[in-house]
């Protein structure tokens, strides 16, 4: 038995790194997400064998190979469904889904929204780089309108998804956004997602430095962040800017809009409430920015409690078992049965 079997309080990043060589392109944003997760896992106080990382297909989906945990690199788009099966069989384990904008929102969009709708206890990390990288430069369902790629030489005519809006539309119980340039923010948001009971969805803006370099630079570059990232904090008025002079209020239609705090006063601003049962406020905030070129909210949009799918199913099983454990023999003998006697019988049959 190897040494990982004993619970050592002082696990480190090394204990969660596999022996496999990491094969992403040098400079890829995926490295910083991997580092954040490898640093976070020891902080969460979990053991490697209790963590299961399930992925689909794409650059981000190689993630499980680089973690010393249980991992399943499945097929394109299906990770949320495979992970649902793992959670169903073993509700005691922590199940993660690592996916991308193509994997999670294009080929696997259906599984993603249904895992969120059911509220399966999963931590879903969606790496959004707004491009297909592994297949070499086709547009993705999050690519901005008009994007020129190999498959859209005249620019795309597809309207993109806003992943946070999609997750909120599916009534995910936890929805957040972070980006690969801020390790501390990533660790904080992913850590909260992991602690959430139910399906937790985290969109991670991730730079593909080879095929879509700088896609998020307008908002994530160090000198832009203060003015372009709106860090949502529960219970606080939504304000941002280097001098915190700008804020967000709701107009008469319930739409979020950016205002000058001096002009409207702080009392007019939205006070962020991630625990509102109704997702409308979170949805309004998610509509503030249509692309990563204008002030964009990050942090936790929504974190509410609702019944966890596999636990609700387990509760049904427990309730049924409490009424009396199942008896397979009795089950197959249920309904009408009859006896056919042996040769020493009188040849007649008795109706049972």
């Amino acid at each position: 038995m190897s040494d990982t079997t004993t619970l050592r309080p002082g696990l480190t990043r090394k204990d969660f790194a596999s022996d496999q060589e990491v094969r992403w392109c040098p400079g890829c944003g995926d490295y910083s997400v991997l580092a954040a997760v490898q640093l976070l896992l020891p902080e969460l106080g979990v053991r490697p064998e209790t963590q299961v990382f399930v992925s689909g297909i794409g650059c981000s989906s190689r993630f499980p190979y680089y973690l010393h945990t249980y991992g399943l690199h499945s097929i394109h788009g299906r990770a949320p469904a495979v992970a649902t099966g793992v959670a169903l069989a073993r509700p005691d384990l922590d199940v993660w889904v690592v996916t991308g904008d193509g994997d999670g929102l294009s080929i696997g969009g259906n599984h993603l929204i249904h895992a969120l709708r059911r509220n399966v206890n999963l931590t879903i990390l969606l790496f959004n780089n707004q491009i297909y990288g592994l297949t070499k430069v086709q547009y993705s369902p999050t690519s901005e309108l008009g994007k020129v790629t190999k498959s859209s030489p005249s620019g795309t005519v597809d309207h993109p998804f806003n992943p946070v809006s999609v997750a909120l539309g599916a009534e995910a119980s936890f929805v957040a956004r972070t980006h690969d340039m801020d390790r501390r923010h990533m660790m904080e948001v992913i850590g909260r997602a992991h602690r959430h009971r139910g399906a937790a969805f985290v969109e991670i803006y991730q730079n593909c430095n080879v095929f879509n370099d700088g896609a998020f630079e307008d908002i994530t570059a160090k000198d832009r962040r203060a003015d372009m990232l709106i860090d949502l904090r529960h219970g606080e008025p939504v304000r941002f800017g280097a001098d915190r002079s700008r804020g967000v209020r709701l107009n008469a239609f319930g739409e979020a809009e950016i205002v000058s705090v001096d002009e409207v006063g702080e009392d007019a601003l939205v006070v962020h409430d991630e625990r509102r049962a109704d997702p409308s406020l979170a949805f309004a905030l998610s509509r503030l920015a249509s692309g990563p070129h204008e002030p964009t909210p990050i942090g936790v949009f929504r974190a509410v409690e609702r019944p966890v799918y596999e636990l609700a199913l387990q509760a049904q099983i427990a309730a049924a078992t409490e009424r009396g454990p199942g008896d397979l023999q009795r089950l197959i003998e249920s309904g009408h049965t009859w006896e056919v006697p042996g040769p020493d019988g009188d040849g007649e049959q008795r109706v049972g």
Binding site: I57, L72, A81, R90, V351
Partner: protein, 625 residues
Amino acid sequence: MTDTTAPSATAQTLDRVVLRFAGDSGDGMQLVGDRFTDVSALFGNDLATLPNYPAEIRAPAGTIAGVSSFQVQIADFDIATPGDAPNVLVAMNPAALRANIDDLMPGGTLIVNEDAFEERNLAKAGYASNPLTDGSLDGYRVHAVPMTTMTIEATKDSGAKPRDAERSKNFFALGLVCWMFSRPVQPLFDWIDERFGRSPIVRDANRAAFSAGYHFGETTELFETPYVVPPARLPPGRYRNVSGNLALAYGILAAAHHAKLAVCYASYPITPASDILHELSRHKALGVRTVQAEDEIAAISIAIGAAFAGALGVTATSGPGMDLKAEALGLAVSLELPLLVVDVQRGGPSTGLPTKTEQSDLLLALYGRHGEAPLPVVAARSPSHCFDVAFEAARIALRYRTPVVILSDGYLANGSEPWRFPRIADLPDISVPFATEPNHTDDDGTPRFWPYQRDPETLARPWAVPGTPGLAHRIGGLEKEDGSGNVNYEPANHERMTRLRAAKIAGIAADIPPAVVDDPDPPADLLIVGWGSTWGPIQAALGGLRADGRRVAHLHLTHLNPFPVNLGEILRRYRRILVPEMNLGQLSRLLRSEYLVDARGLSKVQGLPFRASEIAARALQMLES
């Protein structure tokens, strides 16, 4: 027929009767067929059933497209099929008559609901004149009964409005037929009370209609001779009636019990497989976890995830769903995890004939994946055999860590037969141990867990479930290095892994029973080879052929991949080989290519099972060639 005295006290004894109820799909024909079957099973008859209904829930009333029928053969001996031509046909309207009359045996008994034979219904069914009066039914014993009128009259006191009361006319027909065949009535009253107890008006109307039908048979001069089919002489034991889907669900439960695993069953509703989901979702007290997935792909993916986590992962579907599951099935082949995939076949391609049977997915099950992706395939031959096949599939899946496809079909799924059910405790243990220890040591002495280090005998890889300390590992759909399981693209490794996966499945042949040929006087002049639900019609044909002194053998395959080790040797003993299939020759093609024998196909793709006579005719033709 002018004699109005009570019916003869002496019932006519028959050794078998084929009865078909036919009506509009809203007339409740499946329900009365089920009830008649149940009460006949109770009476001790051997029986076999054939439900046949339209894909539309309510096709336009009164049309041929909307006709639903239920055929049952009851006999006092061991029978294998629901019979070829009915002796008795109950037709609730002109469309039902028109759609079924050609099947009724000459001189057979025809009971019709006279009230339904009015101009509009006759026109909808395409009759230019009323067949009840134009002499076209002269070759049959026709009993025209005003069932609607009599049902409304009989249910007057139940409180049902005439429009609702009219809907009980199927129970009138059932009562009439129960009297004809001397069925015990109390179980039917008990069933009506239980089923409709919550709606006293409906319960009372159905009771009244049933009694009215029964008494009508008893008192009217129309039925001078009640039929009696005495109980069958089946092998001793305790029996119940079971449909294929129910037996399959029970087989999965029994397998999980003896594998000591929880069932995780995920599926997407599809005809004719949904009843398995319905059944399993009722058994939470047995720890069964069921998911109605968002689609067919999710269903198999959930089952794969559950298998990775140490459960018995199962999914079921029909043809269109099998197409959708193909990629995930390939993943399961690559992951080498135990998994059961049930395909309840129906007529294809595409949506095809959703409610009709076919055997056209054999090659799909064997080869319908990209890459070299072999997996075991087993097929059930009768409704109760679905239980055994589910158990056997689980045994293979667990021991060899492989997905297994179970082939059933619409005829088996919905058909039923008496089942001498087993004592669950007598079934074998099929559990396999989970890995608990590292199985490899690095050169420097470090213990490792290698997920693709194979058992030298079975070539199965270890099953280490998440949560097990020290065995954390990653697997996926990318090619893996032999042994370590690390991602590996080397040419020689891929060829080695491809051959190892193939050898593992081929090796299962040594672990399945050899084929047994039913040949009382070997070698017969003709060998009939079948698989799946053709078993019943082949057995029935065999009975007739042998009674005529023909020397015919029968071999029926349960394992379709790998084949039993002795199959080639058996085939080569026979000069003539006939392979009846409800497809255009899928097994015959396999046998020809695998064993270089002259296997001749007999195909039928009408959405209906073979008739014994069709197989017998072809057999005779071959014997005389």
